[in-house]
Symmetry: D2
Subunit: 344 residues, 4 copies
């Protein structure tokens, strides 16, 4: 079988992980990655011995790349030409500009949550609306919080139906290593409703959603609390059963030692995952409570890696590699090693 050729534009926090994820897919070939300058991530690529080809997205800064000794395999045009589909993980707003290039060469592309919805034909989530993405030329992924949240909501929705959700996003404000943003000893609130609630309604229009987002000065994962009104009354045990059946959801508990987002960050490092990443969201067993018919629970979102599987799903949908949600996500999961674990 001919492998699908994938290029990655933007080699930052998300771009690096997308490249690693694609490289693990047996039916895909990573053509290379592109960025504009010899950032620390690009320097690390060099120190590792260039496992991926590097293309420059800013040929006018060639001198900087040479000074840093980065081998360059061509420019962004070259990468696009050599690829069947592009994963665009550039800074918000750049994707819309890059789209012109993708169109010029007649290539498909997947954009990230930071871009405007109008950049894409389909606002995509691997589990919630895979079929909408099948064959589409331009897909936009949901952001990290929304991606993780929808996994859980879609899971219960398919099981018993969901009427409405009210979410509180306790957002990590920066990634490890970020110096361009941060909060010090402060919680910061955004105007409600949060965009994640609105985005959930775009992807799952039959669910009513609202929410409040509060930024917190930490780097290792968002925590979302969800107050969810199911269409049919379910017990905590049933909810656990449904979540347990989802390959991209881990059930964890405080008693096991998972005291918060930092426990999960450490656990993933101890697992030896590349970069200490985790693709799965976690739901705390001992967070699940009921109030009337409503069910309330807390999710951990590993913001750096959580969107990688749904991005791979998007390639599968767009390139018609698999035509259904179950087949597409299963293939992604297999290659990423998702679902093999069983903590307790």
């Amino acid at each position: 079988m001919k492998k699908i050729k994938v290029g990655v534009a933007g080699y930052g926090v998300i771009g690096q992980r997308l490249a690693d994820g694609v490289a693990l897919q047996g039916d895909m070939e990573l053509v290379g990655v592109a960025d504009v300058a010899p950032t620390l991530s690009v320097k690390a690529l060099k120190e590792k011995g260039m496992p991926y080809k590097f293309f420059t997205a800013a040929p006018e800064r060639q001198a900087e790349l040479e000074a840093a000794g980065i081998p360059v395999s061509g420019d962004l045009d070259d990468l696009v030409r050599q690829s069947d589909i592009m994963l665009d993980a550039t800074s918000a707003g750049v994707g819309a500009k890059n789209k012109l290039l993708y169109e010029k060469y007649g290539k498909k592309a997947i954009f990230q949550g930071g871009e405007k919805n109008t950049v894409a034909d389909v606002f995509f989530h691997g589990y919630a609306n895979y079929e909408k993405g099948v064959g589409a030329d331009f897909l936009k992924l949901t952001s990290c919080n929304t991606t993780g949240l929808i996994r859980a909501v879609d899971c219960l929705d398919r099981a018993v139906g969901v009427e409405k959700v009210a979410i509180t996003i306790i957002r990590r404000v920066a990634d490890p290593g970020d110096y361009h943003r941060g909060l010090t000893n402060a919680l910061q609130i955004d105007k409600a409703p949060s965009h994640q609630a609105l985005d959930l309604m775009t992807i799952m229009p039959h669910v009513e959603a609202t929410g409040i987002l509060v930024h917190t000065p930490v780097t290792h994962g968002h925590i979302i609390t969800v107050v969810l009104t199911p269409k049919k009354d379910i017990s905590v045990a049933e909810a656990l059963m449904y979540f347990d059946g989802h390959p991209r959801i881990r059930l964890v508990s405080i008693d096991e030692g998972f005291q918060g987002n930092a426990s999960l960050f450490r656990y993933a490092r101890d697992l030896g995952n590349p970069r200490g990443d985790m693709y799965e969201i976690a739901i705390w067993r001992d967070s699940i409570v009921k109030s009337g018919r409503d069910i309330m629970f807390a999710i951990n979102i590993p913001q750096e890696a959580v969107v990688i599987p749904e991005n791979i799903d998007a390639i599968r949908a767009s390139m018609k590699m698999q035509l259904t949600r179950d087949e597409g996500t299963a293939e992604t999961n297999t290659y990423l090693g998702i679902g093999k674990w069983k903590i307790s």
Copy 2:
């Protein structure tokens, strides 16, 4: 009129503020404060020139107090004897022991949220169940989060009735100056339901409540999001109107510059309040959203000072200074200067 004589046991974060609050009441007299050692707070009392008399709660440590030059007006027994009622703000568990002393001298007492409910005859909140406290000998106050939360829930409950609430407590993990506890770059989750939800149901048994608590590494105020199901559908404007009418609730907005808990902490300092404290909770206008009949909003809880007014209310109730909620809380508010402000 004879002033009610009040003693304060425990001169830490809460005890200091209780003393300041009592000293402001025109119909009360602060007999003095007691603590076990020359802590920094006691040293600050001395540097200020001993505005309050100090009684030692650990006569065996007299030498330490002398070494620090703290003038001692007697021991805890003396303080209790000279007082009509004691505000006990000692560390959790000590209050139960002190109660024996209060009983010995036939004095009433008010305990804080850290004590077990069994220490008191009444679990008290100035606005939610003032009348229950009238004439009672031993009252226990709700904790800081519960105190602030109940203000808001009781406010809507009296207006339109409340069926149920699901809360997310984004808890500040330490007070400014704390070195004995703290989190670094981590969110920590507690087993659900949070005790604040259970406590709310004890005070307001007709409301169903549940909740999840997440500790965050900040010091300037908790933020609580509330998903509240009113008995009667109300608009956001109506909710604003009800909140605006409550003397111990400030309505603030992000547009004004109140970006989070730290803005409120700074604002209170800029006001010149003693210790930069704020007695009122704040509710963000731009956090209030609806989902079906449910109404969702975010509260800021200034944890160091929020319980002071309800403690003063408790004295009024216990000593039968005022017999009704409206009269008792109004008197407290007047002396504390609550309700004079009008930001926008």
Copy 3:
């Protein structure tokens, strides 16, 4: 005696405290404060009942001030005209622009550390070079770290002479309430030598200085470690004696409970100081160690308030209110209540 009329331009973190400090001086009159918009600090001024007159520095934004209900006593020109001398605490760079206005009306002015040295005739420190400022029209104060550092270095320099210093500044990265800057779980290093070392050499040209600055994610005070080579060998006890004799230096110890910058922040709040501020730097007794002739010690810098006394000194020097360092600083200290304390 006719009081010196002082205006304050910029009503932020520093401007508010300058206004409070001037208001305490028996021989000065605070004409008023100016700012460009109804910030939270200006709203707090209003909620306090306008103890100071407010002048607008941006008449074109008059509508915003009216909407916020801020009484306006005139514009910045009016304030300058009514003042004998201006304290300029505007954002870095604005002072240079304002200087044209001060020159237009023939008024003197004091600028803060953020401005370029060229804005002023004299780079000023109340203790290190008071006499240089006497009669000067435009003075620039040292920044908060440099101001505190020079107090300690000048203290030893006058006692025994100082040859050189090597400093490590552990810098708080934001003030309480700041949302426009911050670090999350990261230390950040600046290129060496730090500007504070260079500034020290400008003020004290006979001392050789170098240093490294590291930003840390906290808000309650910088800590500076100093490795100081005195001209004459002194013991730790002698150093303590010299520091103890300086009115603007507090000696504290870990054993007393001063575990770090946050202890001092809390202590100042407990003292009931306006805004919980502290004018004095603190030096930890138990941080002072020797290595050969070198003496090493750690200073706490309360960044919000530390420069206030030296600013008042600058007014005294510039206006020739006192002609010598000892007289000028003593007068400032008396009115600010500095030096009355004695912790241990």
Copy 4:
């Protein structure tokens, strides 16, 4: 050649990394690791498929291990019996107790910095005193800060001689994932001199050392500033040359993007190192400054992994695998892949 059999007691932050480091040595065999309970690290070992054998150090808690499904290969006695030498990475104080067991079976052991010096025959550092450890039965390693610090000081000492050092340790207060310790918005100072300065003098008795330690609320690496008086005056360029020649020192710069400790943490993750670890200390090129003959510079200490190489060195010395510092450390470096990099 027969491989040296190594056991690891304690499978926490350090123990895990020691096990990984030993497993990479071509001339050593990792017999297995021991711990007392199914901690998250042990659960991660299981999820990875048990690459290392697990021995229980608390047979009485066997039921917990079984409940967690951890395959157990024996108890701590078994591990000791099967090993030639033990790396003891248990909690401080436990090592002294374990020593009895090692003596019982006539096995050598390496202890970590948390144990008392008396537990060992030699207080060891791979570069500073390798030869002292040759053939010794019980060695104690320096702590993470001291290990990294000594690398740099020893490097200059061998080149030009070092007379004295004054250090400021800006200490990260917790490791990623720690919930049992932490600071929130506070710097905390220890009594001077810091133990690291004293330890340096124990290892390098010809150098005079003192220092101050300040805890900061971050998790990704300590930063130490060093004021070092060399015996012979050297230029910054010479210092750079000496540091550059040391295999376990990386020279980095702010201009490259290394803005602080978090940049290095991220860089190591991007490198794909196991757990995102880094064995090398980093020295910022642009932190090196001079004051008279003194040279000042800043070091980054990656606290989780920095001591691993020196621990491996200790095995080599104790087991007489190599008899000299140069041969021993070179072998360790080769197997750990240290010194292959060249960032700029």
